[in-house]
């Protein structure tokens, strides 16, 4: 029990922050709680000795995705609190249905996976150098495909954000939301 204490505290933090992110009334609070739950998840990865995944989780989710969410809220004025309105969304049941479908789609392959029945090795290690080598040799095609996809998404974001003008007078400023995605691709 005591040896599980770090894991339990991280798990409780992650779950509480996730619950708070769904139930709080102020959207900015929700976004910050979501960031806290991302950080808790990263802590769990780090406990599993998965250094690379843990740091990447913080870098991408806390550093990029949370900031993107916060920016979106601010730019769309979603942070104005409406007093007395119930937190329960009208599409609650739809959301629950989608969640259930996703969960079952994930659970089915996981329970059938052979790696679930493998004995844990004494000292699980995933050195960053090994991950890098495999990414650049065996999995280089998927990696490049993801890069291409992100570039396409980036271009799409620019096209959506671009205002059509008959005659361009001033050079368009770089918009902020797509710029965030560039750092993913990069």
């Amino acid at each position: 029990m005591l040896s599980n204490l770090p894991f339990l505290s991280c798990a409780v933090l992650t779950l509480l922050a996730a619950i708070a992110a769904m139930t709080l009334r102020n959207l900015v609070h929700c976004a910050l709680c979501a960031a806290a739950s991302f950080a808790g998840l990263a802590a769990i990865y780090l406990q599993l000795n998965a250094e690379f995944v843990g740091f990447a989780q913080i870098l991408v989710y806390v550093g990029a995705v949370a900031i993107l969410i916060v920016f979106t809220i601010l730019l769309t004025h979603g942070s104005d609190v409406k007093a007395g309105e119930p937190v329960r969304s009208s599409s609650l049941w739809t959301g629950l249905g989608v969640a259930a479908v996703v969960l079952s789609a994930l659970v089915a392959p996981i329970t059938r996976s052979a790696s679930l029945w493998l004995l844990p090795s004494a000292n699980p290690q995933a050195p960053v150098a090994a991950i890098g080598r495999v990414l650049m040799t065996q999995y280089v095609l998927p990696l490049e495909t993801i890069g291409l996809l992100l570039t396409a998404a980036l271009l799409g974001g620019v096209v959506i954000a671009m205002r059509e003008k008959p005659a361009r007078k001033t050079p368009t400023k770089p918009s902020r939301a797509p710029s965030r995605e560039l750092s993913h691709a990069a």
């Binding site: 900015v28 609070h29 910050l32 960031a35 250094e51 690379f52 740091f55 990447a56 913080i58 870098l59 806390v62 550093g63 990029a64 949370a66 900031i67 916060v70 920016f71 601010l74 942070s79 050195p127 960053v128 150098a129 400023k173 770089p174 902020r176 710029s179 965030r180 560039l182 750092s183 990069a186």
Partner: protein, 373 residues
């Protein structure tokens, strides 16, 4: 690592960089004063060197004012979220021979991941103050930090490629030998390292919100940006966090490009390794102060355009230059080194000139002052 050693590291880092913060504030004000032809603080103690103590007493005894409409919890947490993770950055920096608190395989990744928390902290501070200047400052700060994080990370990629490791101790070891038997093989002494160091310094200045990139706190425009509604101890905490962030990124620059704790020439290698780290660190801090005293503040659109149209392409080209340097390492003919230098310098130099000229858009028209003539 035994708990005792760990505690020693923690106490040592907090004591050294805590006092470095106090020393830097007075050194910065004195240097700025010298460069701007005035005295700087000279009332507290001999030559004013006790000024940081007076500042600390003033900050700690000031009334802590929280705006009545502020989001109290977030307003309270924001300085802590900014200041706490910054200390972790120092854990992976090798300060000397075998003097490093945590040897991570992915030390560099750890460094950048930890820095991500400061963006959220700045947003929390700006938003929770419920003040338009605070919010504007926070938006500016986040836009700037996101934009300059890309060239900052990309400029370090060359070093990682050459050392073949993300571990900062390995990167220092890769720079440990001496060329011609006397000159250190720092990354700075290669064409890609020289260009990368310049790009890194610019991006690091912007990341730590220092002049000429101090728009988030532009006093003449938005009071003090996200710091507007902070006073007393919390204000001091923000300053501590900013300076520690500057120290951390300076230490990273020393580690990546200036050979870490290695001596510049072999004849001086007898001096303690920590001394060399401290000397390079102090020299870089001086460069930051110098830049602050010299350069005027940019405009926001200039700032973002500079990052995305100039720095990011140049960092990408620099990676190509590093690759050319790496793959020409086997050249053995007479004058191979000079050829490699010219080749790699040309790969970075021509785009630099071309980009710089095309972005400037010809010579600027003479400005007309409608009401001031």
């Amino acid at each position: 690592m035994s708990p005792l050693v760990a505690v020693l590291y923690i106490v040592g880092i907090m004591a050294v960089f805590g006092s470095a913060f106090a020393l830097t504030t007075i050194a910065e004000r004195k240097t700025l004063g010298r460069m701007q032809n005035r005295f700087g603080p000279n009332r507290v103690g001999p030559f004013g060197i006790l000024q940081p103590m007076a500042d600390a007493v003033k900050m700690l005894t000031k009334e802590d004012i929280v705006p009545s409409s502020a989001d109290k919890l977030l307003h309270f947490i924001a300085p802590l979220v900014l200041t706490t993770p910054v200390w972790l950055n120092f854990a992976v920096l090798p300060f000397g021979d075998h003097v490093v608190a945590a040897r991570f395989d992915a030390g560099l990744l750890f460094f950048f991941a930890i820095s991500a928390a400061s963006e959220l902290a700045v947003f929390m501070a700006g938003w929770s103050s419920q003040n338009k200047y605070s919010l504007l400052g926070a938006m500016r700060a986040i836009a700037q930090m996101i934009s300059y994080e890309v060239p900052l990370v990309l400029s370090t990629v060359t070093v990682v490629m050459m050392a073949g490791s993300l571990s900062l101790t390995d990167i220092v070891d890769a720079q440990s030998s001496y060329a011609f038997g006397w000159l250190a093989r720092w990354n700075l002494f290669t064409p890609w390292g020289l260009a990368g160091f310049g790009l890194f310094l610019i991006a690091a200045t912007a990341e730590s919100n220092r002049s000429p990139f101090d728009l988030p706190e532009g006093e003449s425009e938005i009071i003090a940006g996200y710091l507007t509604e902070y006073s007393g101890f919390k204000y001091a905490l923000f300053f501590l966090g900013e300076y520690l962030g500057l120290f951390a990124v300076t230490g990273l620059g020393v580690t990546l490009f200036l050979g870490g704790w290695h001596a510049p020439v072999k004849a001086l290698a007898w001096a303690p390794s920590i001394f060399w780290f401290a000397a390079k660190f102090a020299a870089l801090i001086f460069v930051f102060i110098w830049a602050r005293a010299t350069l005027p503040r940019l405009r926001l659109d200039q700032l973002l355009a500079f990052a995305w149209r100039f720095l990011v392409p140049l960092t990408l080209i620099n990676i190509a230059a590093a690759a050319a340097w790496h793959y020409s390492a086997w050249w053995g003919f007479q004058g191979a080194m000079a050829t490699r230098w010219v080749l790699c310098a040309a790969i970075i130099g021509f785009p630099y000139v071309w980009l710089g000229r095309s972005l400037r858009g010809g010579s600027p028209a003479l400005r007309k002052y409608t009401y001031a003539e």
